[in-house]
């Protein structure tokens, strides 16, 4: 495989052909936030949290780092003002739907919430400002699709899938499929709580 050299946040980064920008950044120790990416699964490009700016032929584009393949000479900006604004809005959109630990932890980095100590053992997440995008009630699901894709791609099960379109999209078990109760879907779910509601 060809060696490729690109610039991420001003650092020269060496990568192999076929890698994504997200992978290349990771090898260089540069962290790009993501919800839907998993190293064992095909890139999906759904959460858009990994949106970065790339400059090619003097043209600036916003792309999903988890899907964009590295190219020779590519310039990547992983935390420009524009990129951070996108991430903040995406997190603000998702938090009322999925108020879970991992999402709060991400949101903290963008100044949306803080961890408040209640006692020595206990602490809780608190929004610095209420999200401007209220949800009717939390679903504890960001629709990242990790469970769906893990079941399909790794377990070849297809026991869990998406139903509905657009704003009605949700994750659902496929009743006619035989579930082996490996519970990998539950384990891969970052929020966790969603599956306790789904009653596997």
């Amino acid at each position: 495989m060809k060696n490729i050299s690109l610039t991420i946040d001003g650092n020269e980064v060496k990568a192999k052909e076929g890698m994504t920008v997200l992978q290349a950044a990771k090898t260089a120790g540069i962290e790009i936030p993501t919800l839907c990416n998993h190293e064992d699964l095909e890139p999906y490009g759904a959460c858009r949290l990994c949106t970065v700016e790339v400059v090619k032929n003097n043209r600036v584009r916003l792309v999903a780092a988890c899907c964009y393949p590295v190219e020779e000479g590519l310039i990547v900006k992983t935390s420009s003002e524009r990129v951070n604004k996108i991430r903040k809005i995406i997190l603000e959109l998702l938090l009322p739907l999925a108020p879970t630990g991992p999402l709060y932890a991400l949101a903290e980095k963008y100044g949306l919430c803080e961890c408040v100590k209640k006692s020595d053992e206990e602490s809780e997440w608190r929004m610095i400002k209420e999200s401007r995008f209220p949800a009717e009630k939390p679903t504890y699901c960001t629709l990242c699709g990790l469970c769906v894709r893990y079941c399909a791609e790794i377990k070849k099960g297809n026991v869990i899938g998406f139903v509905g379109r657009g704003v009605d999209r949700k994750v659902s078990l496929v009743p006619e499929e035989n579930c082996g109760f490996c519970r990998d879907c539950e384990n891969i779910c970052e929020g966790g709580k969603f599956f306790s509601l789904l009653e596997l």
């Binding site: 490009g45 858009r48 657009g166």
Partner: protein, 622 residues
């Protein structure tokens, strides 16, 4: 049917077909496009068949069910050849008169002719009606001359001549060169140069290569691809075969939505007929080139018109877009190099091959060549499908072809490009219509929807309508599009019901920016356009809603119905029509509306013959 072994075989067939035709013989051609179909054209056809039998003219007069003529406002359309007498809105009751007077006695029936809106004069010939006269009907022109289900009609009009020419006289490289030189740009929305796309697919490593016709038109109010596919399917198929030859593909797909049953039927038939003539299959016209076409019926998702989603759907998966950082021209259908073009794009190809790139380049503007078909709908006198050279102004389309705004109302905006397009105000009507200029004013060419809106339209409500459409049609895969549209719709609902403030508009703008920048596919990336363009040109209407007023008196929550006692004649029609018993009063007295019971359906407003019912701002009432 005999298989055609060579181009000279096809020439021979064409000569035979033309010899068999008697141009002096009367022919009644009846538009059988979906619009006229809905008006009952099929019943008119049967009535003609019966009448010809009755008047002993069977066999002496030909009847043709043609494709859509485009002047859908006035369907069913009947044209009598060879005189080209055009009758509009023909009913079964008119058929006896047409046969006995026009066919037998050569007399013209005035009442069925078109009346010029300006001069009041009757127009006899179809081509002299201003609606048609001001168009350049290159791609769409043959629709009205061809019986959609008959390949011979297409061949007689030089159909498949370009294919013969390409296969026998041109190398694939030369075909590709000609299309590149013509600068044919994709008619489906993006406007990407077709020749460049073809070249990428041709040069991409991997076999087999696929070619696809995208007939998943789904914009509200748009039906040009449908009409072309229904009316003249062979023109699209011929373009596809030529493209496949240039690209080096031997397998093609026509993706057509299941909701277009006539398009599915006519395309299936056209493929079968082309196979029987040997225009599809092995060794086409003795050239050694093999090519087959399959039909894939779409299950009715707007987002499936997006190329990667469409390809997923053909593969049997859910029609969801995937990131296209590696182009579908390299990794498309089943990860093989794939060329997808829209119906109209493919239909342009035979013309370019027949007449040459230089001829094609003579039409249009510097960077947008040829013609474009628009579906002109909404508050415009002449609703229908229009084909115009690129570069014509919006004003010419709406006023010269469309005949202006009905009922003496004022023009407010025209929405181009479908749900992802923008609303263009009066001040921009003189811009030339092409791919680049429409983009500059915040809209886009899209696939060619054109919705005209008059002064009674609320622009905030229009933005809300399109955002609602998109929030339901988004696949829901990526966060900005799914959640962004959800909240854009919520904010727009708040604005149209008077519950929003200035901060909400700012939030709406902020959201639009993110949805545009961060969405996965073009559906999301362009979804904010209806909001952004109305905010740009009609911000005052948004501001008015914040003050609790809908200037066009459309938004239900901000208006009330009121009966003017001075004008009310006490006929009681409104009381009769009111579904909720909100109207009370005595005959010959004066009627009143109980605002508590009124659901603002507008039934009273519609039926009142004395203009006594009016819509007033709720604010005024308080």
């Amino acid at each position: 049917m005999k298989k055609l072994q060579s181009t000279s075989d096809m020439e021979k067939l064409r000569k035979e077909l033309l010899q068999k035709r008697d141009s002096s013989k009367s022919c009644i051609s009846i538009c059988s496009g979906t619009g006229c179909h809905a008006y009952g054209s099929e019943k008119v056809v049967s009535a003609f068949e019966n009448e010809l039998k009755k008047q002993k003219l069977e066999g002496k007069v030909e009847i043709k069910r043609t494709g859509c003529h485009g002047f859908c406002e006035k369907g069913p359309i009947v044209v009598i050849y060879p005189e080209e007498i055009c009758y509009l809105q023909v009913k079964i009751e008119d058929v006896t008169d047409i046969v006995s007077q026009t066919i037998k006695a050569g007399k013209i029936i005035d009442r069925l002719l078109y009346t010029d809106l300006k001069t009041g004069k009757k127009v006899v010939h179809e081509s002299e009606i201003p609606f048609y006269k001001n168009q350049t009907r290159l791609i769409f022109g043959n629709n009205r001359k061809i019986e959609s289900k008959n390949i011979d009609d297409y061949i007689a009009l030089d159909g498949y001549n370009a294919l013969g020419k390409a296969l026998s006289e041109m190398t694939p490289e030369k075909v590709l060169g000609e299309v590149k030189k013509a600068n044919l740009r994709g008619r489906g929305g993006g406007g990407f140069p077709a020749g460049r796309k073809w070249g990428s697919v041709r040069n991409a490593p991997g076999e087999p290569k696929y070619v696809i016709v995208n007939c998943d038109e789904g914009d509200p109010g748009a039906y040009m691809d449908r009409s072309l596919m229904e009316g003249n399917p062979h023109s699209v198929i011929e373009g596809l075969i030529i493209g496949a030859y240039a690209i080096g593909s031997h397998e093609g797909y026509v993706y057509v939505r299941q909701e277009y049953p006539l398009a599915v039927e006519n395309t299936e038939l056209a493929i079968k007929q082309a196979e029987e003539y040997g225009l599809l299959g092995k060794d086409i016209l003795g050239s050694g080139f093999d090519f087959t076409i399959k039909i894939h019926r779409g299950a009715g998702a707007f987002v499936s018109g997006e190329s990667s989603a469409l390809m997923s759907a053909i593969e049997g998966k859910v029609g969801e877009p995937r990131p296209k950082y590696t182009h579908t021209s390299e990794k498309g259908l089943w990860d093989k190099p794939t060329c997808l073009n829209n119906v109209e794009t493919w239909a342009n190809v035979p013309f370019i091959i027949n007449k040459g790139a230089d001829w094609f380049r003579n039409m249009g503007t510097e960077n947008s060549k040829g013609t474009k078909i628009f579906s002109l709908v909404g508050n415009v006198n002449n609703t229908g499908l229009v084909e115009v050279p690129m570069g014509i102004t919006l004003r010419e389309i709406i006023y010269d072809i469309g005949g202006g705004i009905p009922n003496g109302k004022k023009f407010k905006a025209v929405q181009t490009g479908g749900p992802s397009g923008g609303c263009i105000p009066e001040s921009q009507l003189d811009i030339p219509v092409d791919f680049d200029e429409l983009g500059k004013v915040g809209s886009m060419m899209g696939s060619g929807g054109m919705i005209v809106m008059d002064e009674d339209t609320c622009m905030v409500d229009i933005a809300r309508y399109f955002v609602k459409f998109l929030s339901q049609e988004s696949c829901g895969k990526c966060t900005p599009c799914r959640e962004g549209l959800r909240h854009m719709l919520r904010i727009l609902n708040d604005i149209t019901s008077g519950k929003a403030d200035e901060e909400d508009i700012e939030l709406l703008e902020e959201l639009c920016e993110v949805v545009k920048d961060a969405s996965l596919c073009a559906l999301g990336q362009t979804a904010p356009n209806p909001v952004l363009s109305t905010l740009k040109y009609f911000r005052d209407e948004y501001e008015a809603h914040l003050q609790g007023e809908c200037p066009a008196k459309v938004c239900k929550e901000l208006i009330q119905y009121y009966i003017d006692p001075e004008k009310c004649k006490g006929c009681g029609l409104c009381l009769e029509k009111c579904p909720t018993g909100a109207i009370s009063g005595e005959k010959k007295g004066v009627y009143t509306v109980d605002v508590e019971k009124c659901i603002k359906c507008g039934a009273c407003f519609e039926v009142c013959n004395f203009d006594a019912v009016s819509k007033i701002s709720s604010k005024e009432c308080k």
